[in-house]
């Protein structure tokens, strides 16, 4: 089925990206989704997820660092690699390009690559090289300006990375290709369309160093050790992690930040790379704690362990996500520490058992008491805020919590009760073989099931009942007489 993603642009849904099958149907990005559907009802369209796409691109970038440390993100859809000095490791530029393409293909990614003397030329060829006859995706380093111009001249002006309005304006003047402006006097064109495009042109042809040279960035915080021989022993590895963590924490302290997401990379002698990552529930800057987390993590890998085989020659510890963190203060009372202790415990349990398995309870805004609370990962951000300002817009109309027992029975327990029809309170009931005579009662509080769920069940009438001994119960009758002929009674909880 042809596939496309779409996004909302000025309140209209428009196609954002298409797969080859969709492109073959003469659909194109920017087209209204409704129009595309009118033509091809079978089109599978999903909402574009820019953050997920950005994430994939970052992952690709991280992976691409294997070819050169100088790799930069060229959002939204590109990666820029500076391979000068690295190409010979792969047997020359052409071989390197071939290998990059092959590796992407092996991962199921279609990549358009281009290799050229200037970043601008590579950018242009990767995006517009395919329209040339013959197709050009490789221009060797050291090409002189004239030959570069000759090769790139037939490209459309959009290849200069100009905005669409400018390209359209130039086209209206009859200027459509790079060659069209190479050949003409600059002054009249610059007077009308700005000097910007000539700056781009000069960068493309390598006349000037480009002002938009990509920023090749390493992860914000990283510590690395290289070894002459591969390290195999786990003890050794753990010790190295600790020392890396100390380096990292020094860095973090200097910038007043703490790590929320850490990654240890193990580069094996034979070229394989293994990554382990841990996430923390608070900004972390304690080397011991970091090392402990990784120790637990490695432990959790079980027998196979890190598959060290020939050993690792490079170990790298990087902080992938950080947030600012003030100085830790030891307070007079122990509250801060106990909070830290709790967080530390959650992190350690999480590293060992899996973050999702360590949970806490959270209130839900639901009528149905069975679903009034839910388990959420304890490390998740949305912990109950103590003195956070009430968010009026979302809480204003939520009614105050009705009187409920603090804890409910795990499962409501069937009881025998005598009550008047149709919805009178119970007069007496038997629960766990004990007969209770009701002295006072409030109710019924009628809670109907969520009708939009599958198998919603019956309506419940809840009563708060007090027996002669002063014990308070929360019990309910399940089923109205119009829903069932035989309503049943249940005990659901006790009031303290």
């Amino acid at each position: 089925m042809p596939l496309a993603t779409f996004m909302k642009i000025k309140s209209a849904l428009r196609l954002a990206a298409l797969d080859p099958r969709a492109l073959a149907l003469a659909l194109e990005p920017g087209m209204a989704l409704a129009d595309a559907r009118a033509r091809h009802p079978a089109l599978l369209a999903i909402e574009a997820n820019p953050s997920a796409e950005a994430k994939i691109l970052t992952d690709i970038l991280a992976w691409s660092r294997r070819f050169t440390p100088l790799a930069a993100l060229d959002a939204p859809d590109g990666i820029m690699l500076d391979v000068s000095g690295a190409a010979h490791l792969f047997g020359g530029e052409e071989k390197l390009q071939a290998e990059i393409e092959a590796r992407f293909q092996a991962q199921g990614l279609t990549a358009r690559t281009a290799l050229a003397p200037t970043p601008e030329a590579a950018w242009a060829l990767a995006r517009y090289g395919h329209v040339l006859r013959p197709l050009i995706s490789f221009l060797p380093d050291g090409l002189d300006e004239r030959r570069l111009a000759r090769a790139l001249g037939p490209l459309p002006l959009a290849a200069l990375r100009l905005d669409t309005g400018l390209v359209a304006g130039l086209a209206r003047a009859g200027l459509r290709r790079v060659s069209d402006i190479i050949l003409r006097p600059r002054a009249p064109i610059a007077a009308r369309f700005g000097t910007h495009l000539f700056a781009r042109l000069d960068a493309l042809l390598g006349r000037t160093k480009s002002a938009i040279s990509p920023r090749f960035e390493a992860p914000p915080y990283l510590a690395e050790r290289r070894f002459a021989e591969g390290i195999v022993a786990r003890d050794g590895i753990e010790a190295i992690i600790l020392s890396l963590a100390q380096d990292l924490c020094t860095l973090l302290t200097r910038h007043g930040e703490g790590a929320r997401h850490l990654e240890a990379s193990f580069f094996r002698v034979d070229g394989a790379v293994k990554h382990l990552d841990v996430r923390t529930s608070r900004a972390l800057r304690d080397p011991e704690a970091m090392a402990r987390l990784f120790r637990d993590r490695i432990e959790a890998l079980g027998d196979a362990g890190l598959e060290a085989d020939y050993g690792f020659d490079v170990l790298r510890l990087s902080a992938l996500a950080v947030e600012s963190k003030g100085e830790d203060q030891a307070s007079l009372d122990d509250t801060l520490n106990s909070e830290n202790d709790l967080a530390g415990l959650i992190d350690r349990l999480g590293a060992r058992l899996g973050v999702r398995r360590v949970t806490r309870l959270s209130m839900q805004d639901r009528h149905d008491p069975d679903f009034a609370v839910v388990y959420v990962p304890a490390a998740s951000r949305a912990r109950p805020r103590k003195c956070a300002p009430r968010d009026i817009s979302s809480d204003a109309e939520i009614p105050a919590l009705p009187p409920r027992p603090l804890r409910l029975l795990l499962h409501p327990e069937l009881i025998e009760a005598i009550a008047s029809v149709p919805d009178g309170p119970p007069l007496r009931f038997r629960w766990r073989r004990v007969l209770h005579e009701i002295a006072a009662v409030e109710g019924p509080e009628r809670i109907a099931p969520d009708w939009w769920k599958e198998a919603p069940g019956f309506t419940r009438d809840y009563f708060r009942a007090e027996d002669r001994d002063g014990q308070s119960f929360w019990l309910f009758r399940e089923g109205l007489y119009r829903e069932t002929i035989e309503p049943r009674w249940f005990m659901h909880g006790l009031f303290a």
Binding site: F6, A38, V131, A191, R192, Q364, R366
Partner: protein
């Protein structure tokens, strides 16, 4: 055990769905259920609104319920913004009702549109005569706060919305009670509800205690949100829609249970067994109310008598005065007779003041030179003709005054008047000035959920993704109210058997027809003698300074309140401009009534379906009917207008009529009795009146019943009485000896009329405009085209087709130019006559009939991106003309962006610049120096000191593309003409050749897609209109073929259709079998330039300079430089996508 004694109960707190997105049932349903349950009364109390009460009132009236057995209380639930608890408020009498409506008006006018902000003081000011019941707690909600006045003044909504919901506050009620009692002059009640909340017994005890303390009787209510418990899902959906949340997110903001539905007396007595007096109190409460909505009727303004003793006398005087003007050679006896008859009826029903009101408005419009005409049933009236309300001469038609006014119906007459659409505002302003804001306001329209919107909203609260929502709404064509069929859902890629989707579809169809909000009617005016805000609450309209009421036209009809529809009609604007041009350029004074009648050439033109731009009969369906019907008289036009409508089509009356008219079938009548009814239409019922008459004559309906039948059809969704009418009519006709088939067809036809009513009188009004516009097109095609262009947007065709049609009729159209054009298209330089050969052969027969001799100069209104003020400045300072772009720039001081738009529209030709040269020059303006220092150098002629950029010349093909982009039409050439040779190679015929081909032949034809149409009555058939350089062709695409061709048919801008030719009496269609998207072919328009001429010219040494190069071609001598060999170019600059955007997309009609 406690014994319940059911003494009777009246529910006084009913929230209907006119408390938008709160109530889960229609007012009609609530009343119906209350009757079913045997309640003694029902109080409709919507939140700060009376919008739904009329509907409840009408149900009771239609069911003829005895008021002593069941009483409908008219009131509201007041919700205050200052923390005061909610109150149920019911007026005891008419005066108190007036105070209630002014109270609500005050709240409405204080808030933004759609909101109502009431304060305690407002109530105390207006409380006299109201019966109040205080509810513990306020339901003023966050979204009510969002429209606070402060927010309106520009404060952020967040701070201002920080209201605290008020819970049960005994202290507040204790302090409030004595003041309320004093203000309303009677007892004040306290309500108690038993709705199975968290502590309902405790709450009841609390209420009881409080009631005793404040000495207020306790009033039992069930605070109803829905008429039956089964509405709970829909009610939850409404809540979620209101909050903008999904059902899961809405959580406890949804009702916990379904108990807030109407309950019978026994059940209420059981619930209130501890306070039985609260149940009895409901009957006391309702006994005190004596107001009925029936007291509101007949409140017409009377100041228009102009010195006559009574409105009736004034009306008589005006009528005879008008008759004398209409019939200068003596008023015929027949007319006098009719006037007397009508006057008597008007007197009997006391409607004279109403006629005077309409007469006054139209007199104002005519004084201002605003073209106007009454439409609808008013054209049945001789009186209206003489008062110049309508222009259809009753002596030439047999019209039924009783359709307009009848004693039996006892409804106010309804006169709709069309005005020029651009000048209607003047008329509306006049009405406000004449009667004042206190007495005139616009009627409301109730915007209801349609299938598409209902499905979207329900899907949203179910948490469906944008994509599924889009697919869901994509499954619905147009804005229908019909449920989605399984087939459509499947086609949209959805599984209709999936339970969640089924729930959504079921709920959506339940939601369809629910009111969503009130909007203003485009032109319905209510005018009263007394203060309008004492009749119905007023609120702000969308436009500043205008107010609207809470009721729509049906509500007003039902209550007998006067209204006038001030409608806008584009064709009147066009005709007004046309008459104006005739006067200015030909010295002819024409208006609607004196255009030469019954001219043969006009009918001949119409019969050839040469009707582009003509009112009503320009649509494809109408045009295919014309050659078969061959109208020859005015009455034929009346039939033509009425016949291509859902009524006759659904009733399958069209073909029998055509066959009889063409003499292929004998004219016979179902019975002698019906001969009189059907004589004019050859025995086939075509008009609404005839269908009703058949019900009367053949099925023994009373006229009143027949009218009820017509109304029931219009509103059949709400009142399910359709089947009883069906049985009565069909069985009645069969019993009287008619064929069952004929009877069923007649019924079907009334069904079609119900929603798209076209009575004969209305058709006659419209037919007049048809004739006048056709006359103008036939006699003065130049004037007609000019007027039509200046009245755009309107009608079926884009300016490109209108211009093309005019050129085919011999009109020369010139391009917009800075030295000649104005904002509007204008007529220029008269010629000696229609020049030889400029007429398209198709229209050759008209040569002798045409009298237009002017050329047209396109106006700048045709250019995208320009505004009228800038052009006014350009025209005002033009003087003897602009001699350069710089001259224009300096004298007009227009911003460069405006000059750029002008250049892009190729408007500098008179300076010898084409669009590329002009654009280059405009862009260079700033470069030569600042505007400030230029005046000094103004007199110097500037020599461009900059080097020549040597731009490539723009070729014709690209000019055409650019013309389409900036003007959406091109006078230079038709895009298709550029590819004719490759079309010929594909054996694709010109559209003009089709006329000469035999029916049944296979043929291919290609053109730009102009219109795609899928009429609701044609069962999924697509009609596609395309245009090439020789004319227009129509294709029919059957649903099965369409499914296969869908991407091409919907996506192509330039399409080729292959199929069998169908030629039926000159109506030509191609029945599509195959289609091809030829849009890429048009790339040739740009490609030629891209291939060869991108390079600047090089001075070639050695070429003799004396060699003459044709002017404008200098740049063409390009020489390839060695740098870029030609083979390297490839197809680098594909602009197919851009081209697709430029060419017309084709209009889609349903």
């Amino acid at each position: 055990m406690i014994k319940y004694i059911a003494t009777g109960y009246a529910e006084l707190a009913v929230t209907t769905n006119f408390s938008f997105l709160r109530g889960g049932s229609h007012p009609e349903e609530c009343v119906g259920q209350a009757l079913e349950l045997g309640l003694k009364g029902l109080g409709i109390a919507d939140r700060n609104s009376l919008a739904g009460v009329v509907r409840a009132h009408v149900v009771l009236r239609e069911k003829k319920v005895n008021p002593s057995a069941f009483k409908l209380a008219i009131g509201t639930r007041l919700v205050f913004c200052d923390g005061t608890p909610d109150m149920l408020v019911y007026p005891k009498n008419r005066a108190a009702y007036g105070r209630l409506t002014s109270l609500l008006t005050r709240g409405n006018l204080r808030a933004e549109k759609g909101g109502c902000l009431l304060k305690r003081e407002d109530l105390l000011d207006h409380a006299s005569g109201l019966q109040l019941a205080v509810m513990p707690g306020s339901s003023f909600a966050e979204e009510d706060a969002l429209c606070t006045e402060r927010h309106y003044e520009g404060f952020g909504p967040k701070e201002e919305a920080a209201f605290q919901p008020v819970g049960q506050d005994a202290g507040l009620i204790q302090s409030l009670m004595p003041r309320l009692r004093e203000a309303c002059g009677g007892p004040v009640w306290l309500t108690a509800a038993m709705t199975y909340g968290t502590s309902m017994r405790g709450d009841l005890a609390w209420c009881k205690r409080l009631a005793a303390e404040v000495r207020a009787p306790l009033l039992a209510i069930n605070d109803v949100l829905m008429h039956v418990a089964e509405r709970r899902p829909l009610q939850d959906v409404l809540t979620a829609i209101r909050l903008g949340l999904t059902l899961d997110e809405a959580g406890r903001r949804l009702e916990a249970n379904a108990e807030r539905h109407l309950k019978d007396a026994a059940e209420m007595a059981r619930l209130f067994s501890e306070v039985p007096e609260a149940i009895a109190e409901t009957l006391h409460f309702i006994d005190g109310l004596s107001f009925s909505l029936d007291e509101l009727s007949g409140d017409y303004p009377e100041e228009l008598r102009e010195g006559f003793a009574t409105p009736q006398e004034a009306l008589r005087a005006f009528a005879y005065e008008g008759a004398a003007w209409r019939f200068p050679h003596g008023v015929p006896d027949k007319v006098i007779e009719a006037i007397e008859h009508e006057l008597a009826l008007v007197a009997a029903l006391d409607y004279a003041a109403y006629f005077l009101t309409v007469h006054d408005i139209m007199r104002f419009a005519r004084d201002q030179g605003i073209l106007c005409q009454g439409r609808g049933s008013a054209a049945n009236s001789t009186l209206c003709y003489c008062l110049r309300i309508t222009d259809v001469d009753p002596t030439r038609h047999q019209l039924l005054f009783e359709r307009f006014i009848s004693v039996e119906r006892n409804e106010p007459p309804d006169i709709d008047v069309d005005f020029e659409h651009e000048r209607r505002d003047q008329v509306m302003t006049y009405i406000y000035e004449r009667y004042g804001r206190a007495r005139a306001a616009l009627t409301a329209t109730v915007v209801t959920y349609r299938t598409r919107s209902a499905m979207r909203e329900v899907g949203k609260v179910f948490g469906f993704s944008e994509d599924v929502l889009a697919a869901l709404s994509g499954a619905v064509w147009g804005s229908s109210s019909v449920a989605v069929e399984d087939k459509e859902a499947r086609r949209a890629g959805l599984d209709p058997t999936e339970p969640r989707l089924q729930k959504v579809l079921a709920l959506a169809s339940e939601l369809t027809g629910f009111p969503r909000h009130l909007s203003q009617h485009t032109g319905g005016f209510v005018i009263t003698r007394t203060r309008l805000d004492e009749v119905v609450p007023l609120a702000h309209a969308a436009m500043d300074g205008r107010t609207t009421i809470e009721w729509n036209k049906d509500d007003l009809d039902a209550l007998g309140i006067l209204k006038v529809d001030i409608l806008a009609l584009g064709m009147l604007t066009c005709l007004a401009r046309g008459f104006d041009l005739l006067k200015r350029h030909y010295g002819l004074e024409y208006h609607l009534a004196n255009v030469p009648a019954e001219e043969k050439p006009v009918y001949e033109m119409i019969s050839r379906a040469d009707t582009i731009g003509v009112f009503q009969i320009e649509s494809r369906a109408q045009m295919s009917m014309l050659p078969r019907l061959k109208p020859a008289t005015f009455y034929d036009l009346v039939i033509e207008v009425a016949i291509v409508r859902p009524g006759p089509i659904q009733g399958d009356m069209v073909h029998p009529y055509l066959r009889r008219r063409q003499g292929l079938e004998p004219v016979k009548y179902p019975s002698d009795a019906l001969q009189e009814v059907l004589e004019r239409t050859l025995g086939v019922p075509l008009f609404q009146e005839q269908a009703m008459k058949i019900a009367i004559v053949a099925a023994d309906f009373t006229p009143g019943e027949a009218d009820k039948l017509r109304r029931a059809m219009a509103t059949f969704k709400r009142i399910g009485t359709i089947s009883t009418f069906f049985t009565k009519m069909v069985e009645g006709m069969v019993a009287n000896g008619y064929e069952r088939d004929f009877a069923e067809r007649c019924f079907k036809q009334i069904e079609g009329f119900g929603t798209y009513g076209f009575p004969e009188s209305h058709a006659a009004s419209f037919a007049l405009l048809v004739y006048v516009s056709a006359w103008m097109k036939c006699r003065y095609p130049d004037v007609f085209c000019c007027a039509l262009l200046n009245a755009q947007p309107m009608g079926f065709y884009a300016p490109a087709q209108i211009v093309r049609d005019a050129r085919e009729h011999g009109v020369t159209v010139e391009e917009a130019d800075i030295n000649f054009s104005e904002w509007n298209t204008i007529l220029v330089q008269p010629r000696a006559g229609v020049s030889e050969g400029s007429l398209h052969p198709r229209h050759e027969t008209m040569r002798g009939d045409m009298r237009g001799v002017h050329d047209l100069r396109l106006g700048f209104r045709q250019v995208k991106g320009l505004n009228e003020a800038d052009i006014a400045c350009l025209v005002a300072r033009r003087g003897a003309g602009y001699d350069s772009i710089r001259d224009l720039w300096l004298r007009t001081e227009l911003p460069q962006s405006v000059l750029q738009h002008l250049a892009e529209a190729d408007a500098f030709r008179s300076l010898g610049l084409d669009r590329r040269a002009a654009l280059w020059a405009v862009k260079g303006l700033n470069h030569a120096g600042d505007k400030d220092d230029l005046p000094l150098l103004k007199s110097l002629s500037f020599k461009a000191r900059e080097p020549d950029a040597g731009l490539p010349p723009m070729l014709l093909g690209e000019h055409v593309v650019e013309d389409y982009r900036t003007l959406s039409l091109s006078l230079k050439a038709h895009p298709v003409s550029f590819v004719r040779s490759s079309l010929a190679a594909r054996k694709i015929a010109r559209t003009e050749e089709l006329a000469g081909m035999a029916s049944g032949q296979r043929v291919s034809v290609a053109g730009l897609v102009i219109v795609r149409q899928r009429p609701g009555s044609a069962k999924g058939v697509i009609f596609l209109t395309m245009e090439d350089e020789t004319g227009i062709a129509n294709a029919i695409i059957w649903p099965k073929v369409f499914e296969a061709l869908r991407p091409i048919v919907m996506g192509a801008r330039f399409i080729a259709i292959t199929g069998r030719l169908q030629n039926e009496a000159g109506v030509i269609h191609v029945v599509a079998e195959r289609a091809e998207d030829l849009t890429p072919l048009l790339n040739i328009l740009r490609q030629s330039e891209e291939q060869a001429f991108a390079h600047p010219p090089c001075r070639v040494i050695g070429r003799p300079s004396s060699q003459k190069v044709p002017k404008g071609q200098e740049n063409l001598q390009t020489v390839q430089t060695s740098l870029f060999p030609p083979e390297a170019s490839g197809d680098a600059v594909k602009e197919a996508a851009a081209l697709r955007r430029v060419l017309p997309k084709g209009r889609n009609f349903h």
